[in-house]
């Protein structure tokens, strides 16, 4: 199984980055100040993360701190992958 970082970096590089000058994407690159994540691409990313990792993202999760970089997204996903959740999302 590929590393979570690789899966997420691949997806963002392939689907969300509009400006090729931003590639290759480093794990700590700011996805917000670079404009890679805007309101439209955020939704696509949420859909992807929910489907790929079997997680459910709620109100309290759609925050800048969770989407600041590939690293922060990975940390978020790891904390919520099925089996690691304390409060059960339906």
């Amino acid at each position: 199984m590929r590393k979570v970082e690789t899966v997420i970096t691949d997806y963002i590089s392939r689907e969300l980055v509009q400006d090729p000058a931003l590639l290759p994407l480093a794990n700590e690159t700011s996805l917000l100040t670079s404009g890679i994540i805007d309101s439209l691409s955020l939704l696509r990313l949420v859909v992807f993360l929910e489907e790929r990792f079997g997680i459910t993202m709620g109100d309290a999760d759609l925050l800048p701190e969770n989407f600041a970089s590939v690293n922060t997204i990975c940390a978020y996903v790891r904390a919520r992958e099925p089996g690691k959740q304390t409060a059960a999302h339906e």
Partner: protein, 543 residues
């Protein structure tokens, strides 16, 4: 009564000189300041030889500088053409060339981008905001001989009122470029009178006053911006700009609405759906918000009901109207609305008549009857810029009053009359879809794909999506070699199309299915799509 849009500003400045006019990114302009700064821009434009009727491109996101540029352009008697800073250079160059813009006005951060676009446009005028040093541009920015008039020079112009009005009410105030089915965007020409018909109605309908803080996240090239840029001014209310940084995350939007005490909000439904699903609205004090207006696409009823339940206090207004007509119908949501059907688009606005025409050419009079919606009145566009043939397809003789000689607009939207006289929106007659409220002609996306040398045939189809309105699916047949990848196709699209028009789903096929008449069989293609859709699709289904 004002008969030119810029009069809204001079009158507001005379009446309420010290009231806030624009709050943007920590910068606050009073009506007096906005009035005087726009006089300077108008003089700079006149000094460059801009004459009444000329087109002036404006390259800036919505901001204090952009609003100064809009009013400065109008005061010079010219017509503004918004240029979306995020659109691909190819598309912007086309709009600049097509409109014949004589000058581009840009904010300080976009001077180089403007100079790059100014292929054949000799001049770029820079607009800044006093007391806020902008981004320093390298001195050697000019490209292709474009002459740049820096903000320092513009700021040195006189701020006194211009001696005379340089336009009349039937002159063009702005041209808004919208997706065109034959592959290039078309420019919708709106005169001062067309716009003021909407603005005056909108101020009354929303009950705007100088106490209001108005926000619409729609960019300048989207006709929703006419409301916050001009209606706010008529009421001497404060136009507030949602900062880019706050616009991305629903919770940040909600936090910003609370902090800025926004009282009137106007946007496409998708932003409000996000707020309802992910905005954690109950956590915030949004008691200042008294009116929420949405337009541009159908609001999914489930999310509208959810929003109204989370935030029961404001009035909710559904406004309808293509760019070509301005808003032409409106419906106020009854409190506690929880119906499963979409909100009706309502009844005609003041000074406007709407009627529906059946497939047999009869006027719809009975509840339950369906037909295409037509619009009549002073808010209708003057036509498509430089495209008389296209104009005459949609601006047609009134079918029931041919002798009047008056033109009416065929919307292409199918509606049904309801028992209470409201109209309900049913769908489109043609290949136009809405994505986050933006109009997208499938033909324009197909034309962009055909520019790729390896693509032989293509069909672009909408895939319904609760949040975005639609997503786009491109079905492609490519040249023998077969090494065209999805990434190649996406990269190609991004050169020609704004991001909302780039297809999400790219599908390669050996051949496209055909109907008996040899046309691409879109119905059968649309049927196949169900197999493609990932289950669940991740759309918000919370609560």
């Amino acid at each position: 009564m004002a008969y030119l849009l810029q009069r809204l500003l001079t009158e507001a400045a005379a009446r309420q000189p010290q009231r806030p006019a624009v709050a943007s990114d920590g910068c606050l302009l009073t009506y007096q300041e906005l009035d005087r700064l726009s006089n300077k821009v108008a003089r700079a434009l006149l000094r460059l030889g801009v004459a009444p009727g000329d087109r002036v491109g404006i390259l800036a996101p919505k901001s204090a500088a952009a609003v100064i540029a809009v009013y400065g352009t109008l005061k010079a008697g010219a017509c503004y053409v918004p240029l979306d800073p995020k659109a691909p250079a190819e598309r912007l160059s086309h709009i600049v060339r097509d409109s014949g813009a004589a000058v581009i006005v840009a904010d300080e951060a976009r001077t180089s981008q403007a100079a790059g676009l100014a292929d054949g446009v000799p001049q770029v005028v820079v607009v800044g905001v006093p007391g806020r040093p902008g981004v320093e541009e390298p001195a050697a920015a000019p490209a292709q001989g474009a002459a740049i008039v820096p903000w320092a020079a513009v700021a040195g112009e006189s701020a006194e009122p211009l001696p005379e009005e340089l336009a009349i009410e039937t002159d063009l105030a702005y041209i808004l470029y919208t997706s065109g089915s034959t592959g290039t965007p078309k420019g919708v020409m709106i005169s001062h009178r067309n716009s003021l018909t909407f603005v005056e109605w909108a101020v009354a309908a929303a009950g705007l006053s100088e106490q209001d803080r108005v926000c619409s996240p729609a960019p300048l090239h989207f006709d929703l911006s006419v409301f916050d840029v001009f209606a706010s001014c008529q009421a001497a209310a404060c136009l507030t700009v949602l900062p880019d940084g706050a616009a991305t995350f629903p919770v940040s939007i909600a936090r910003w609405l609370e902090a800025e005490r926004i009282s009137v909000w106007y946007s496409v439904p998708s932003v409000l759906t996000l707020l309802a699903c992910y905005g954690n609205l109950r956590q915030f004090d949004l008691s200042g918000l008294r009116t929420v207006i949405f337009a541009g696409e159908v609001f999914p009823p489930k999310h509208l009901a959810q929003l109204m339940a989370e935030l029961p206090r404001p009035r909710y207004l559904n406004w309808y109207g293509p760019t070509e007509t301005n808003v032409c119908t409106a419906f106020e949501m009854p409190a506690g609305w929880a119906e499963a059907r979409p909100a009706p688009i309502g009844k005609a606005c003041a000074n406007t008549e709407v009627f529906a025409v059946t497939g047999e050419g009869r006027r719809v009079t009975e509840p339950g009857e369906e037909g295409e919606l037509y619009v009549r009145g002073p808010s209708l566009m003057r036509g498509y810029w430089g495209q008389p043939a296209k104009t005459s397809e949609v601006l047609v003789r009134d079918p029931f009053r041919a002798e009047s000689g008056e033109l009416v607009y065929r919307t292409g939207d199918l509606v049904a009359l309801e028992p209470d006289g409201n109209y309900a929106y049913l769908g489109r007659r043609d290949g136009m879809v809405k994505i986050r409220g933006y109009r997208v002609e499938l033909g324009e996306v197909e034309a962009a794909l055909y520019r790729h040398p390896a693509i032989q045939e293509v069909a672009v189809l909408p895939v319904p999506d609760e949040l975005l309105g639609s997503r786009l699916r491109a079905v492609i047949t490519a040249d023998g070699a077969g090494n065209l990848t999805r990434e190649n196709v996406l990269d190609h699209c991004r050169q020609w199309l704004p991001s909302y028009m780039v297809p999400d789903i790219i599908e390669f096929r050996e051949v496209l299915p055909r109907t008996s008449t040899g046309k691409v069989d879109r119905v059968s293609l649309a049927h196949d799509q169900h197999e493609l859709e990932p289950a669940g699709d991740g759309r918000p289904n919370k609560r």
